[in-house]
Symmetry: C2
C-alpha cells in the first residue's frame, strides 16, 4: 500500500482497525508451527453505509511480501478473517489494511436503486466515472483496462436495466477482487508471529524409562539395569506404534544420599535404583550419564537408533540436585545456605524433600544461567533437540525467557516442553516466555462439560501462545478416571488425546492398562520412578490385553489426516446426551496436499461404564455442507459407513467401541 | 522503589506482573471521573512457595506520589486488587510493583514448622536474621527499630512455642505492612488513567424541546412557538425533580427546503416547525439560534437561569445541513457533489432523506475540522460545556478523536455524549476515542436475563473506557416495552436506570406515560421532532397521573447515596424467579463522607404485567456481612423496614410497587 489516510498523532486510523489477532499481550510474539493454518483476524468498520474491504499484508522471514483478502464474518461483530498456512520458519511480520471498496459501494447502491428506477442517471454517471478510473490504472493489464473502459462507455446514459446488469456482472467484479478501487486507505501497526518447526506443534510422544527396558532379574534376586543398548531394542516397537518422539526421564547419575526407596519411602534398600529426579552423584551431574545406562557413546548410539526408527529423543531437564551432586561442593552459592551452614532441602512447609536441593536462582544468576546453558548446549551437541522441562514453575519465568531465547537463537530446532501443573497465570506466562509446548489440565478434564470447555480453551483462547501436549498419563499422574474407568477409560482418553490436539503423549504402561494407584495418591503403585518395571509388550498384545493396536491405529489416522495435525481448527458440536462429546476438526481444500477438504468428526462416550445412545447435532455448514444435506461418514476405527445429515443417531458402547472417529467422505 | 531485579531485554519481570488494569488496548488512556473508586488490578505471582506482596504506585497529575497495597483475591487467578478513589482531575500515571514479602514467607513457614517442632533452630536463626535486617533499616522510626531488634534478640535460640508466638504477633506484622522487607522487586510499565470532572460520570439528564415549553395555540389555530424565555419557566420544575442536566435538541434555524411535516411526512404544512435536525436556513447555521426561540442574549439568559436552578445545559451537536444551510452555498466542497452537479442527500440506499445533506469529511478535512471546532468553541463561549453528539457513527472516528482531544485540551470541563446506536465495535471505538459518555442498548434490554448481561457489561467489561448514559426514552425511541407495559413499565425502567448507573436520562413526556407509537415505528406518534407538544405538568401531578414524584424520589436517593454515583460497584445477585432482577451497589466505608459503608440493593420485577414472589439470594459477604447473619434493610421508596439475611422472600406487585430500593442499615 502506497499511502494511508491516517492522520498523524491520532490513535484511531481513518478506517478503524481494532483488536488484530494473533496477538499476545505483554510484548510477546504470537506463535505458530510450520504448516499451521493461522486464522488472522481484525475488527474493521467505517462510518456510514459505504463498503470497506480488508487486506492482510504478510512479510515472510525471508522478506517475501504477500497480500490476503479477509472475509467479513457478517455476525454483527465487524470482525474479518483470513486463514493462511505459514510454512517458512522464523519471524513473520503482518499488518491489516482497510480500504474503501468503491466498486462494492457503487454496485450495491446502484443495484438497489436500479430495482426501483431511482437516481438512474446519477447511478450511471457514477458507475462510468468509477470504471473509467479503474481503466486508467497503469498497473492493470491492457486487456483489463480495455474491458473496464468499455464498461464505462456502456454506462453512459444507461437505463436501470443496464446498470443492474453491470452492477451484478461477476466478471467485472472479479477485476476488483485482487485490485480493489479505493479512495481511503488505513493500516494497522505491524505485528509479529514466530513460526517454529513442525514438531513444536505436531507429534505423538512416548515416554519410557530406559533402565526398565531390558532390565533383568538375576538369580540372586538382584536386578540388572537396562541400558541404552537394551532400551534401543524397544525403539522399533515404539516407532511401529506410530510415535514421533521418545522421551526419557533424567538419564544422569542418581544421588545416593537420602535416596528414596520403592513407593517413595524414605529409606532406600540395597539395589533400589532411586529416583532419576534426584540428579547427581560422585559419578557426575547434569552433563553426565548414569553408569548403569552406559556411556556417552551408548547414548549417541541410542539417539541414532531412534533417528533411524523415525523417533526424536527428548530429554528431561530437571534443574535440581541430589545432595551429592558435584554442584553442591563446587558451587554452594547456587543453593540456599541456612544459618546452621547446611543447604536447604526442597520443601513445601512443613513438608520436606530430603533427596533434593533446589537451586536458588537469585544468589549467583550469572553463574547458574551460564551453567544451564552449558548443559543444554552439551545435550544439543549429543543430538538432542527436545527438552521436557521438569517443574519450570519453581524457577524464575525470566530465566526461561532468557534460556529459551538464547538457545533457540543458536538453534531454532530446539523445543522445550513445560511440565508446569500449577495455576493458569504461571502456566500461561511460561508459554508466553518461550516454551514451545505445555502440559495442560487435560488429565483432569474427563466429563463432557469439562472437555468442551477445555477443548475450546486450548484451540482458541490460548492457541496464539500456548501449544498443548495432551499426555494421557505420566509417571506422576494416574487419575481416578483411569484408576476406576476400566479399559474403556484408556480407549476413550487415548482417542480424545490423539485427535483433539496435534500433540499428545503416552507414558509406557498405558497400553497395558496399568491402573493401580499407590493408596491415597494419584500415581501408579510401585512407581517406576523408584524401581525397575518388567513389562512383556509382545505377550500382552498377543493375548489381546494391549492397547497398542488402538494407539497404532490412532497414530496412522493422525498421519493420514492433516486436519488432526492442526491446533486451531476444532469445533465442539451439540449432542443431547450429557456424556456424548462431539467435536470436529476441519481443514479446507486450500490447505491439503490432495486438494480435498479433510474433515474428521469425533464422537466419544466419556462415561466409561455405560452404553449411551443419543442424537448429535452438527454444524455442517462450517465444512461447506449445507444444513439438511446428506453425506457419507466412515468410521476410521471400524470401517463402518453411514449416511449422515446435520442430526444423527449414535450409539456408543463403552465396553466395545466407546468412540467414533469419522471421516467425512468427499461428496460427488 | 529504588531498584528492580528485572533483567534488561526480558519481557518477563523477575516477579511476573501481567494484565494490569484499568487498561484500554490500542494505546488509549483508561478513564475515570473525579470521585470514582477505581479498582486497580494485576496478575502477580512467583515461582515456588515464597510469598509476595504487590503495591500500586500512583502519580497524580500534580506530581503527588502514593503507594497502595493490593489484596490477593485468593481465587486461583493470582489476581490482586486495590480500590482507590481518584479525585484530582487530569492524567494520572500508575504502575504495579511486586516484591518478595520476606516477613510473610518466614512467618508462614516458621509457624507451620513450629507446630510440628521441625527445623526449630533454623527457624529461630532465620527469624533473628530477618528482624535484625529490619531493625537496621535507617528509614524506620527509632521506636520501631528498637522493637525489631528486641524481637531479633528474643528469637536467638528460641523454642518452637516462642517462634510460633513471634510468627503470629500482629503488632510485629503491622510493622511490615507499610514497609515490607524484601529481597526481590519488580515493576510493571507505567500506565495512564485520565480523570475527568464528576459530571462526565455522574448526572441525571432531562431533555426537552424549548419550542414546546410555552408554545401557545392562537385563536386563528396557528401556534406560537415557545422561546428560551418561556422555556426558562420550566427549569425550576425540572430542577425540582432533581435533575442535573437539561439537554436541548438543536436550537438552530431549521431548513425550509424539503422540510418534513408532522409524523415525518414529506410535505410540511404551513406552520409546521420542521425537524430541528434539519439544521440551517437563510437565518444561519450551527452557530445561529432559531429566531422563534429568541436571541443570543435570550439563550445566555436561559443558560444562567438553568445554572441558578442547579442545571447544566447540554446542546445537540448534529453535523449535517438542511439544503438551505449557509454551508451549502459557501462550502459546497464539504458535501458530496454528484455528476449532475447536485449535492447528495443523506441516504441508506434506496432510501433517501431529502431534508438533509451529510457532510463529506474527506473532501476538505482541514476546512471542516476548523469549522466544527469554531462552532464548538462558540457554544462553549456561550456557557455550554456539554454536547450531545447526534449520530457520531456517521462521521470518521478519527475526527472525533481530534475534536474532543483539541476541545478538552483547551477546556477539560467539556463533555461529549455519543448518540451512536449501532454495532458494538463502532460504539466502543467512539468511547475510546474520547467521548465522555455514550448512549447504550439499555432501552432494548428489558428481560431479567438481558439486563443481567447488560449491567455486567457496562459496569465491568467496558467501564475502563465507556461511560453509559441510561436514557429511558428519547425523542427517537419509544420501545415496545413502554408501549405495552403500562405505567408499571415506566416505573420499573426509571428505577433501574436511576440506580444501575451513575448517569441516566429522561426525555420530557416520560413522566406523563406517553406511550403511543407511530404505527410500525418505535417512536412517539405526533413526534415532537416535527411539531409542538402541549403538556400540563402540574395538572398531571395534581391528578396523580404523573411519574414526577417517583423521578423526584429517585434523584433524591441518588443524591443521598454515594454508592449510586459509582459505575464499577454493581453486583448482580441471584433470584429464583426469571423476572425478578436483583443487584446491589456498594461503597466501602473508606470512600464515604460519613465513614459508614453505603449499600443499596435493588430488587425489580421486570414483568410489568404480574405479581411475582420469590426468594432472592444475596452474596452479603462482599458488603462485609457474613453469610447467614441478619441485618436490616429499609425500602427507600416506601419506608418499609425488614430484617434480611442472605436468603429473603420478596413479593413485587407490578401494579403497585414493582421495585424495592433497599438501603442496608449499619449494624450496631
Amino acid at each position: 500500500m502506497d499511502r494511508t489516510d491516517d492522520a498523524p498523532g491520532m490513535r484511531t486510523t481513518r478506517l478503524p482497525l481494532v483488536a488484530p489477532t494473533p496477538a499476545v499481550p505483554g510484548g510477546f510474539s504470537a506463535k505458530a508451527f510450520s504448516g499451521e493454518v493461522v486464522p488472522f483476524g481484525v475488527t474493521a468498520f467505517r462510518e456510514g453505509h459505504d463498503i470497506i474491504g480488508v487486506h492482510l499484508r504478510l512479510m515472510s522471514p525471508g522478506g517475501h511480501e504477500s497480500l490476503h483478502r479477509l472475509t467479513p464474518l457478517n455476525d454483527g461483530t465487524d470482525r474479518w478473517r483470513a486463514d493462511v498456512a505459514l510454512e517458512e520458519r522464523g519471524t513473520w511480520s503482518f499488518r491489516f489494511e482497510a480500504f474503501s471498496d468503491d466498486f462494492a459501494t457503487w454496485s450495491h447502491a446502484a443495484e438497489l436503486k436500479a430495482a426501483v428506477d431511482v437516481d438512474t442517471p446519477v447511478s450511471a454517471a457514477l458507475g462510468a466515472q468509477l470504471f473509467a478510473r479503474a481503466a486508467a490504472e497503469k498497473n492493470r493489464p491492457a486487456a483489463e483496462r480495455k474491458r473496464l473502459a468499455a464498461a464505462a462507455e456502456g454506462l453512459r446514459g444507461a437505463d436501470a436495466g443496464t446498470i443492474a446488469a453491470v452492477a451484478r456482472d461477476a466478471e467485472l467484479a472479479a477485476l476488483f477482487a485482487d485490485r480493489p478501487l479505493t479512495t481511503l486507505q488505513s493500516a494497522s501497526d505491524w505485528l509479529k508471529i514466530l513460526v517454529e518447526r513442525e514438531r513444536a506443534g505436531v507429534g505423538a510422544w512416548y515416554e519410557f524409562f530406559p533402565r526398565s527396558e531390558g532390565a533383568k532379574r538375576l538369580k540372586d534376586g538382584s536386578i540388572k539395569s537396562g541400558t541404552f543398548r537394551t532400551a534401543m531394542k524397544r525403539l522399533p516397537g515404539v516407532a511401529g506404534m506410530g510415535f514421533d518422539v521418545i522421551y526419557l526421564p533424567p538419564i544422569h547419575p542418581i544421588g545416593e544420599i537420602n535416596r528414596k526407596g520403592r513407593n517413595n519411602t524414605l529409606e532406600a534398600q540395597p539395589g533400589d535404583p532411586g529416583s532419576p529426579y534426584a540428579i547427581g552423584s560422585r559419578d557426575g551431574g547434569h552433563d553426565a550419564i548414569h553408569p548403569d545406562l552406559g556411556t556417552a557413546a551408548d547414548f549417541r548410539a541410542f539417539v541414532r537408533a531412534a533417528e533411524k526408527a523415525g523417533l526424536e529423543v527428548a530429554l528431561d531437564l530437571a534443574l535440581q540436585a541430589a545432595p551429592d551432586h558435584p554442584w553442591v561442593s563446587e558451587h554452594p552459592e547456587w543453593f540456599t545456605v541456612l544459618p546452621d551452614g547446611t543447604i536447604a532441602y526442597a520443601e513445601n512447609p512443613p513438608k520436606k524433600y530430603q533427596d533434593i536441593y533446589p537451586i536458588n536462582f537469585d544468589r549467583d544468576p550469572a553463574g547458574i544461567y551460564a551453567e544451564v546453558l552449558r548443559i543444554v548446549r552439551h545435550w544439543v551437541s549429543q543430538g538432542v533437540k527436545i527438552f521436557r522441562v521438569d517443574n519450570p514453575h519453581t524457577k524464575p519465568v525470566q530465566f526461561w525467557e532468557w534460556l529459551i531465547g538464547t538457545v533457540c537463537a543458536e538453534d531454532p530446532d530446539v523445543i522445550f516442553l513445560s511440565e508446569a501443573f500449577t495455576r493458569p497465570a504461571m502456566m500461561q506466562s511460561l508459554a508466553k516466555a518461550g516454551f514451545q509446548q505445555s502440559y495442560t489440565y487435560f488429565t483432569w478434564r474427563n466429563t463432557k462439560a469439562e472437555l468442551e470447555e477445555f477443548l475450546g480453551s486450548i484451540s482458541r483462547d490460548t492457541a496464539d501462545f500456548m501449544r498443548p501436549n495432551l499426555f494421557v498419563n505420566t509417571h506422576d499422574i494416574l487419575t481416578e478416571y483411569l484408576q476406576y474407568g476400566g479399559r474403556a477409560a484408556y480407549r476413550i482418553r487415548a482417542a480424545i488425546a490423539a485427535t483433539a490436539a496435534p500433540t499428545y503423549g503416552v507414558y509406557a504402561g498405558y497400553e497395558l492398562f496399568e491402573n493401580v494407584a499407590r493408596p491415597g495418591s494419584e500415581e501408579n503403585i510401585d512407581n517406576e520412578k523408584y524401581e525397575y518395571k518388567f513389562r512383556d509388550w509382545d505377550a500382552a498384545e498377543a493375548s489381546g490385553d494391549s492397547l497398542a493396536p488402538l494407539l497404532r491405529r490412532l497414530n496412522e489416522i493422525r498421519r493420514s489426516h492433516p486436519a488432526l495435525r492442526q491446533l486451531r481448527n476444532l469445533s465442539v458440536h451439540w449432542s443431547d446426551d450429557d456424556s456424548i462429546l462431539v467435536y470436529s476438526k476441519h481443514l479446507g481444500s486450500a490447505f491439503t496436499e490432495t486438494g480435498s477438504a479433510d474433515t474428521i468428526i469425533v464422537v466419544a462416550n466419556v462415561d466409561p461404564h455405560s452404553v449411551r445412545q443419543t442424537t448429535v447435532h452438527l454444524d455442517t455448514q462450517q465444512w461447506g455442507i449445507p444444513l439438511g444435506e446428506s453425506y457419507e461418514v466412515e468410521d476410521l476405527l471400524t470401517g463402518s459407513v453411514w449416511t449422515w445429515t446435520d442430526h444423527n443417531y449414535v450409539r456408543l458402547d463403552a465396553f466395545a467401541e466407546p468412540v467414533h472417529i469419522l471421516k467425512v467422505r468427499e461428496r460427488s
